[in-house]
Amino acid sequence: MKVASWGGLTPLPHTVRALSRAELHRADKPLGRGIAFGMGRSYGDVCLNPGGVLWQTTGLDGFIAFDEQTGRLCCEAGVLLKDIQRLLMPRGWALAVTPGTQFVTVGGAIANDVHGKNHHVAGSFGDHVSAIRLLRTDGEVIDCGPEQATDWFRATVGGLGLTGLITLVELQLQPVRSVWLNVETCVYHNLNEFFALSAQAEKEFAYSVSWVDCLAGQQGRGVFIKANHSPPIAADSCPPLPSSGGALRNVPFTPPFSLINKLSLRCFNQLYFHANQRKKSQQIQHYTSFFYPLDNVQHWNRLYGRRGFYQYQCVIPPADGALALKQMLDVIARADEGSFLSVLKTFGSRTAPGMLSFPMPGVTLALDFPNRQQRTQRLFAQLDGIVSECGGRLYPAKDARMPRRLFAAGYPELSAFLAYRDPGIQSALARRLID
């Protein structure tokens, strides 16, 4: 069947093999060659293997044990972040790190070592993984963690699924007092203000993130959001609970062309910026609205039309942060391209747990661009130049096009990583950037 990832670029034929618990325990049925595929929420080709096999992991969705005292959760790798949050947050435990969608598997979160709005205090997803069981395609089983087989652990966290199939994991959750967050919002008018707000927020808030208006040119105005977990609140003062029936809105079909274009974007950005200027700056939000606002629009990726879209996410080391960002925003404005979801956030200083983990100290900018072929590629080449000049890197989970040398330059531990690569695992990204 034809499969595309979340970016919705050309769907290509794959053989999809659903994995089951029973099957993994049978030594007589080896995995063969392929790559793990969970929810297909990575944007580029890290989860794809055109012409080959995808091992669908969503059937491996069993919990194994949970210790209510310590917050240790043991589960299969196909469990969704959504199920962990929904089940355990009302019981006082939440994922210590969560990305912007809860429709991803635990295995995928580890393989891409995803991060969230609290990177400055909590690091990335892999920082809260205490054990991983890895099944190699030759049948070998390797248990690894921050205290055992640490080299395998460092290769597997952020290892893009290439070190073996992650079958079981143990996570350390964080204690929370309610399902609510106290959220504060304000606008900023330039990047200096952004950096000042970030520095301040990192001291006082667990979560911080910002939306940047990339059509405003190099000055970089935007909306800054910071939050802390809230203590329990009385039932009568709760905002209405979000509906439990899944997505509130849906994009029912893929339009022939992108609905996100310069015109719609300019309107949106103006409205969003000014709405936030006037909005009440403090509010209580349910965790789903705060962490996963886009999950409310099912299939939002379809808005980009049949050609799909690219996401471009880089991290720039702190020394060059402000200057490089200005240059990038300038290049984007000049190219007359706009990004709908432009997210700007500072990372904390902690060393990432994986050899190929994306986060590193600095500032990260994430941008979405409708696929306009040559035009988009030209813009990316310019952005690559800025990133590479200041020693930054791109995020493989979001990438479908970075050149090999940029990957190699951004990930100096790549050659060490290769010793842990499972030769039976194939992916489009591995063919493009590694093999």
Binding site: M1, A18, S20, R21, A22, C75, L87, E147
Partner: protein, 267 residues
């Protein structure tokens, strides 16, 4: 796996008064559809669930999952041979015990490729034994117990495949068809009583049983959605539920196709 909590798999949750919980018996509790139904029941309220199946190791994994989801659940795991009459009678007796069950769900099933059923009579027999004979025997055993208790809902997982024999899966279809006729009779027997008999007919659903279809690119319904509709149908006590509902219409058309047309189709 060292630090992992796997050793907790077998720890029983104690200290709950079992008699206050509603009791559910699930035969074929390793079935993905059954697992999702149990998750939904436990998301609403704790219950006493008896898991009956053929593979005890996998049943324990299911039990561990349910225990994380609702620590107040009371679980019992029973395993045995579904091809032996005595074993079936014994399992039903142990599962029922002295406490009547509010719901009994029969979810056991095997679905090898049709070609294997045609080329190997042993495979053919296993399909008939598990899907039809064992299901009917379990149902009969529980029917007697429900009759004595005067209440209960017996839910049977049939299939759209039972609606009309087709070249692609008629052995499986024949077994599921047997269950339809069986349930019809049981519904007739219990008409006007407090005992409900529900026949559920899922269309192709995304479970390990249908992994081969998925590989061929068949569109399969998400198992969580199918389970949700099954739980609703059981609550309402409807006689026959197609899940998803569109299969009622599709199968009505397939059942009514004239043979001359039907026989030309490769379905």
């Amino acid at each position: 796996m060292g630090s992992l909590l796997l050793d907790r798999l077998l720890v029983n949750i104690k200290g709950h008064d079992v008699s206050e919980l509603s009791k559910i018996i699930v035969i074929g509790a390793n079935s993905a559809i059954a697992v999702h139904c149990m998750r939904l029941w436990l998301a609403k309220a704790p219950a006493e669930i008896v898991l009956v199946g053929r593979n005890v190791e996998r049943l324990q994994a299911v039990a561990a999952d349910l225990r994380v989801r609702n620590p107040a659940v009371v679980l019992r795991v029973l395993s045995g041979d579904f091809t032996q009459t005595d074993s079936i009678a014994d399992l039903a007796g142990q599962a029922w015990g002295t406490q009547p069950a509010a719901i009994v769900l029969l979810a056991q099933g095997v679905l090898p490729p049709q070609q294997d059923c045609q080329s190997d009579l042993a495979v053919c027999r296993a399909v008939l034994d598990v899907n039809a004979v064992s299901a009917a025997l379990f149902a009969e055993a529980f029917a007697a117990k429900m009759e004595a208790a005067g209440a209960g809902t017996l839910a049977v997982l049939g299939s759209v495949a039972g609606d009309r024999g087709r070249q692609s899966n008629y052995i499986y279809g024949a077994a599921k068809g047997l269950m339809e006729r069986y349930v019809q009779g049981l519904q007739h027997r219990f008409a006007g009583t407090a005992i409900k008999v529900v026949l559920l007919k899922p269309g192709p659903t995304d479970t390990p049983m249908t992994a081969a279809f998925k590989q061929q690119g068949m569109k399969l319904a998400p198992v969580a959605d199918v389970a949700e509709q099954i739980v609703r149908a059981i609550n309402q006590g409807v006689a026959v539920a197609y899940v998803p509902g569109k299969w009622r219409l599709i199968m009505m058309i397939i059942r009514h196709l004239p043979r001359i047309v039907f026989n030309r189709m490769r379905i």
